[in-house]
């Protein structure tokens, strides 16, 4: 956006909202909103404490294991569904149900099945992410130009060659889009898991700060979490733009 010929840097609107937050906080209208400056000071103190670092590593571990399992399972399943009519008919209803289901309601069931530990948190995270990854990989494969498949067959491509050299690359723009949305959902999944299953990691911090009315700390952790999720999502959006040059001309 430009104002009076000056090009505003990206996300300058955040400054406006930050300023508003600061004003509301300084007016001392509610304990719920401490001034942004106070939150930031708390944030810089907080991120150095061992409790925070421990929470970060616990959460990051569950998050990454969950996300990577979702990717490793989701992409091949999606590609195979796009290629095979039979598999598609078998799995598509379930994928659609789980995509739109309120997965939070399933968490108690998962706890019964898998216990109260990190394992269940990881499964919850993966469950939040995997469905959209499957659907997008499937959509990418279904949009593939049939003549690319014919070309590779006519030059003697084995099914494995076709999978890795044609289908995967042809579906990559959609796959990356799916992974980006999946990762955002996984952030939700891991925090919900840490609040509902066992109170650990960031979930434990949220629980601790909100029940003790430590709002500055509460907001500080939330800002850290937002920032991490946003950075990750922007990085994936950047990868998506890198393949966009061929997304339009497949």
């Amino acid at each position: 956006m430009t104002i009076h010929g000056y090009k505003l840097p990206m996300m300058s609107s955040l400054l406006v909202w930050g300023l508003l937050w600061e004003i509301v906080g300084q007016l001392d209208l509610t304990f719920f909103v401490p001034p942004l400056s106070e939150v930031l000071v708390t944030l810089f103190g907080l991120v150095q404490t061992p409790a925070f670092l421990r929470a970060l590593s616990t959460t990051a571990y569950a998050f990454w294991v969950g996300v990577i399992s979702a990717i490793v399972i989701g992409i091949p399943v999606g590609i195979l569904m796009g290629k095979s009519r039979l598999l598609d008919e078998l799995l598509l209803p379930w994928v659609n149900i789980f995509l739109s289901a309120p997965l939070t309601a399933l968490v108690p069931v998962l706890m019964v099945l898998f216990g109260f530990g990190t394992k269940t948190i990881i499964i919850t995270t993966a469950l939040f992410a995997v469905w959209i990854i499957i659907l997008n990989a499937r959509a990418g494969v279904r949009n593939i130009n049939r003549s690319l498949v014919e070309m590779s067959r006519s030059f003697g491509a084995s099914p494995l060659d076709a999978f890795f050299k044609i289908y995967f690359w042809a579906a990559l723009p959609e796959i990356l889009g799916g992974v980006r949305i999946g990762v955002i959902r996984a952030v939700k999944g891991v925090i919900i898991g840490q609040l509902l299953i066992s109170i650990v990691g960031f979930g434990a911090l949220f629980e601790l700060y909100s029940s003790n009315f430590l709002m500055a700390e509460f907001w500080a952790v939330l800002i850290v979490l937002f920032a991490l999720a946003f950075t990750l999502s922007e990085f994936l959006a950047f990868l998506e733009r890198k393949v966009a040059y061929y997304a339009a001309s497949r």
């Binding site: 067959r153 030059f155 044609i166 990559l172």
Partner: protein, 266 residues
């Protein structure tokens, strides 16, 4: 079903062996008969066009020869060997080019060799040679979306040439490029047939194009698809390619083919 083997012009059928033989091939999709009992010989080292109205099964026949579609009955022989699937003796050029949009020109041209397990240095050396041959030198590192339609089809052609197959199958390769590029392509194709000593099977729906580039034209008619007529134009190319379109025989054959096809065109 009897087939009429009409020879036009003064040339007698030269004694050449067939690179590809299609014998009594039928193909049905459920109730729909795409090809019925079709037999056709493709002389080695020459260009044979499959010409006919849309829906006459010419692309189906080409894909059966390529091994991409199984025939319902009948046999296809390429170089004396029966066709059961795609093979290294045939290379395919597709109407919509079918280039990998995420790969550079050189990787696209080398893709056929890559699938055959040829080492990187070897296949890129070969690809470079054919990129030069089709007139794309300097574009090795470009991507398909940076090229014009005509240049993309040159990449498709170089890919088919680089695997050094004996038989080249071209499925309406020039129909997606503009008229001027198309004319240049036709001239290049004639030169290619003369220099490469390969057998070309060329599907087209343009009568002029078929008469211009072909050594032999098989006219296919639809419902049920069969070979109606085989024409071997004997237009002399000695006075240069420019004179072909003014040759009386060229004009006669074009008229004659149109006369036999016009009742099948809706």
């Amino acid at each position: 079903m009897s087939q009429i083997d009409l020879k036009i012009g003064t040339a007698a059928m030269p004694v050449t062996d067939s690179a590809v033989s299609v014998r009594n091939v039928s193909k049905s999709y459920g109730q729909v008969e795409a090809l019925r009992d079709l037999s056709l010989e493709f002389p080695r080292g020459q260009l044979t066009s499959l010409l006919g109205p849309s829906g006459c099964g010419k692309t189906t026949l080409l894909k059966i020869i390529a091994g991409l579609l199984p025939a319902s009955s009948g046999t296809i022989e390429v170089g004396g060997k029966s066709v059961v699937g795609p093979g290294p003796d045939r290379a395919f050029v597709l109407q919509d080019f079918a280039l990998l949009p995420w790969a550079s020109v050189i990787r696209n041209v080398a893709f056929g060799l890559e699938l055959r397990g040829v080492s990187r240095s070897e296949r890129e050396a070969k690809a470079e040679k054919y990129i030069r041959e089709v007139g794309l030198a300097g574009f090795e590192k470009s991507f398909p979306h940076e090229l014009s339609g005509g240049m993309r089809q040159r990449v498709g052609l170089a890919r088919a040439l680089s695997v050094d197959a004996q038989v080249l199958l071209l499925d309406e390769p020039f129909s997606a490029v503009d008229e001027q590029t198309r004319r240049k392509f036709q001239e290049d194709l004639i030169a290619l047939v003369q220099n490469e000593n390969k057998t070309f099977i060329f599907v087209t729906h343009s009568i002029e194009e078929a008469v211009y580039v072909s050594d032999q034209i098989a006219i296919l008619l639809p419902r049920p698809s069969r070979v109606h007529e085989i024409i071997r134009p004997s237009i002399s190319r000695a006075q240069g390619l420019g004179s072909i379109r003014r040759d009386p025989e060229y004009l006669d054959i074009v008229d004659e083919i149109w006369a036999s096809l016009r009742s099948y065109v809706e």
